[in-house]
């Protein structure tokens, strides 16, 4: 019997993090990784994943202490009402920006491969509307929806490997360690952005039944994502070589197009992959939308959050339609890194340090 308290289990929380991370980033990061780290892109991808586990630890350690207040509540408790609100606003803005960028990125890929003539607004708006409908029902139905999708995601990964692996030349991964240290560091940094998604933990803590165990389940998810991303970039390099991987916008889609499906499966397999990927991109947007509704509702001291998203929707559309061409849009996406750094690194560190200092001060005053 599922309790009717709109709370989620650790497994469901891990799935929320998993579905947030697995989106358009998986198609775009191989070219950047290959540009910076060359043949060793798969190594920098693994290192970036491990660094993100550390960031998850910081979020869980800091956020876990005041989990019942939520993210905005935690900031207000630690830093005071006004200053705490000011610190929380950039995170809210980050979710809005991400909520605008994600449907646009989704629409760009869809327009390129599937719907050439459909106006981009008519691809973005249905995605936003559907996401809003799901978010309004609460976190628990959302998490159950993600549980249903998990087998599809696993199927997609298995099919990707089975299709692409035959005919791959693993000598393309050689020579090992032939890059430069600055290149590796740049590669680790650029790939780290592709893992962005675990920052939703900041927001969903009050909705978890056992928030104390959040780190374990999230770390397992991040390990799985690290392996998946390393596998994707490795497949791109063994199939295409480093030079071609660097030049392609969406290398994983290209390798599926350039691979023959195993005997017995359909021809032009990328159609099935794209259909499954649409669902994954939708789940990414749904999680971001949930982040917007919770953070926005808490900032405005609203008890019920269902009305926040419909108010924010036009902003999402406006942000999503920025940038004339795909190239301009990707430049704007790079600008979101500042807000992302604040959300993923700075504010969790500040919270953790403040919690740590408060504990020390508390112990001293007791003694």
């Amino acid at each position: 019997m599922i309790p009717d308290d709109d709370k989620i289990s650790n497994f469901q929380a891990a799935l929320i993090v998993f579905n947030f991370i697995l989106g358009a980033g998986v198609f775009m990061f191989p070219s950047e990784a290959a540009k910076n780290a060359g043949n060793d892109a798969w190594m920098t991808t693994i290192v970036a994943g491990l660094i993100n586990i550390l960031l998850i630890y910081i979020i869980c350690k800091g956020g876990g202490e005041y989990s019942r207040y939520g993210f905005v509540g935690t900031c207000r408790v630690l830093f005071g009402r006004i200053f705490g609100t000011i610190l929380a606003i950039p995170v809210f803005l980050y979710f809005i920006y991400a909520g605008g960028m994600t449907p646009r990125l989704f629409a760009e890929v869809i327009k390129l491969f599937l719907l050439h003539n459909t106006p981009i607004e008519f691809v973005i708006i249905p995605l936003i509307l559907l996401g809003v409908i799901l978010v309004r029902s609460g976190i628990e139905p959302m998490a159950r929806f993600f549980e249903v999708l998990l087998p599809l995601t696993i199927f997609l990964v298995v099919v990707l490997v089975v299709t692409v692996l035959p005919g791959s030349d693993f000598t393309n991964l050689r020579p090992f360690f032939s890059g430069t240290i600055p290149g590796y560091l740049k590669g680790i940094l650029s790939t780290s952005w592709a893992y962005a998604g675990f920052e939703i933990l900041l927001v969903i803590y009050p909705f978890m039944r056992s928030p104390g165990k959040a780190f374990k389940s999230s770390a397992v998810v991040m390990l799985a994502m690290t392996l998946l991303y390393a596998l994707v970039v490795m497949l791109c390099i063994v199939r295409l070589g480093v030079e071609e991987t660097k030049t392609l916008l969406f290398a994983p889609i290209y390798i599926i197009k350039a691979s023959e499906a195993p005997i017995g499966l359909v021809e032009r397999f990328e159609g099935l992959v794209m259909a499954l990927w649409v669902i994954l991109e939708f789940t990414t947007f749904v999680v971001i939308a949930y982040g917007i509704s919770v953070t926005g509702g808490d900032l405005l001291n609203q008890k019920d959050r269902k009305h926040i998203l419909p108010i924010i929707m036009p902003l999402l559309l406006i942000f999503g339609l920025q940038g004339e061409s795909t190239v301009d849009f990707f430049k704007i996406v790079d600008n979101i890194r500042y807000l992302q750094t604040y959300t993923v690194v700075i504010i969790p560190l500040v919270i953790l340090l403040t919690v740590f200092i408060k504990k020390k001060v508390g112990k001293k005053s007791e003694s």
Binding site: R174, P175, S178, E243, K257, S259
Partner: protein, 399 residues
């Protein structure tokens, strides 16, 4: 509750009637291109003379010629021949395809030109055969533009087989094969079987794009017209995006062997006046490298497995040391074959198509960096020795 259900049902109802409006596609509105043949008209570039912006650039220079081979759906069904002699014809007779030819600046320009002659949208997603003309391989700029279009277009089928059209392109695309309705299906079928014969080196467009992007070098099969069939027995060697030379077909098997791509084929060996076919079932090669002074010394170990397909009717191959002797002769012959091929690439071609540069780059990167600037020269001077083992696994069902 009822209002809630209505609110959810209404968009679902609207979706049924409004979704897919812009990208709605009727299959009868599409012309599926099976063969795309592109050749250059060798027009001199006038960019250097005139760098001013003009109003219209379309169709000013006939830089390339493209031929689109499109199947006629109503004629692709087979009908039994009236005299019962087997082999089908097309309903209503005639060819099962049409060839649309046009000239223009580049492929998108040509598609636009054909738009006023063709009542269907040209669709590149099912291209099976991509033919590059001989003149295109001499015109680096036109080749680069054509390759970029094929790579950049998301719909262009990356699994299309690429080949060089030797001779007149129109003659080749007009071939009506005997066993298939379309040339593309016929040639694609030959390439699909190539693994078993080792007399061909099939190349998908995706593979060509990633290979040629490294250093501008690639190897492509050549198609020629022979009666009403195709002849595919040479390889075109491309260097720096231009045709370097045509390689004799006899070197295809050793070329594939040294590049570790040999998967089948039959080698003949003479034994006491009898030509014995040895069917290769697998081939592996291992390379080792030593640098002595400024000389690169490669030792290539080749190990093959195969079966004997034929002997002498009254002889018994399993007797005494016959198999040992055949094996020894096979190994010697294969070694000579590999040596002759290597000498051909070192002395005649003067360029590394044998994958030794790639091996050195991957496994001996420091050595490769020393010779990187002039790798072809280092390759031509290299000492390449072979150590061949050919195992005979099966001899058929008779002794």
């Amino acid at each position: 509750m009822k209002v809630k259900r209505l609110v959810i049902l209404l968009p679902a109802f609207l979706l049924l009637f409004t979704s897919g409006c812009w990208d709605k596609t009727e299959i009868s509105e599409k012309a599926f291109i099976f063969t795309l043949a592109v050749d250059s008209n060798e027009i001199q570039d006038d960019k250097a003379e005139d760098n001013n912006v003009r109003a219209f650039y379309e169709s000013q220079r006939k830089k390339i010629t493209a031929i689109f081979s499109i199947p006629i759906p109503s004629k692709t069904a087979s009908i039994p021949s009236s005299d019962g002699s087997g082999g089908g014809g097309t309903p209503g007779g005639g060819k099962a395809f049409i060839n649309q030819k046009s000239e223009g600046e580049n492929i998108p320009d040509i598609i636009k030109i054909l738009g006023v002659r063709e009542n269907r949208t040209l669709c590149l997603c099912y291209i099976k055969l991509f033919l590059l003309g001989e003149n295109l391989l001499k015109d680096k700029e036109a080749l680069l533009e054509t390759l970029d279009y094929a790579r950049r277009d998301p719909d262009f089928n990356k699994l299309a087989y690429v080949a060089v059209a030797k001779g007149k392109m129109e003659d080749i695309v007009n071939i009506e094969p005997k066993m298939e309705k379309m040339l593309a299906s016929y040639v694609a079928g030959i390439f699909d079987m190539a693994k078993k014969t080792s007399s061909l080196v099939p190349v998908h467009f995706g593979v060509l794009a990633s290979t040629i992007l490294k250093e501008g070098n690639a190897v492509l099969p050549c198609i020629e017209k022979a009666d009403n069939e195709v002849k595919i027995n040479n390889l075109a060697l491309i260097k720096d995006y231009q045709l370097l030379a045509y390689m004799d077909g006899k070197y295809i098997r050793p070329y594939a062997c040294i590049n570790n791509k040999l998967e089948g084929g039959t080698k003949l060996i003479e034994y006491k006046g009898t030509m014995i076919p040895y069917e290769i079932s697998s081939s592996k090669r291992r390379i080792s490298l030593k640098e002595e002074g400024n000389l690169l010394k490669y030792t290539i170990n080749v190990e093959m497995e195969g079966d004997i397909e034929e002997f002498y009717f009254t002889g018994q191959i399993s007797e005494d040391d016959i198999l040992k002797e055949i094996k020894s002769r096979l190994e010697e012959s294969m070694k000579l074959e590999l040596q002759e091929t290597t000498n051909y690439f070192q002395e005649v071609i003067g360029c590394d198509y044998l994958g030794l540069g790639e091996y050195t780059y991957n496994y001996h990167n420091k050595i490769y960096k020393k010779y990187k600037e002039n790798w072809d020269k280092a390759f031509s001077k290299a000492d390449i020795a072979f150590d061949v083992t050919m195992n005979i696994k099966r001899i058929g069902i008779s002794k």
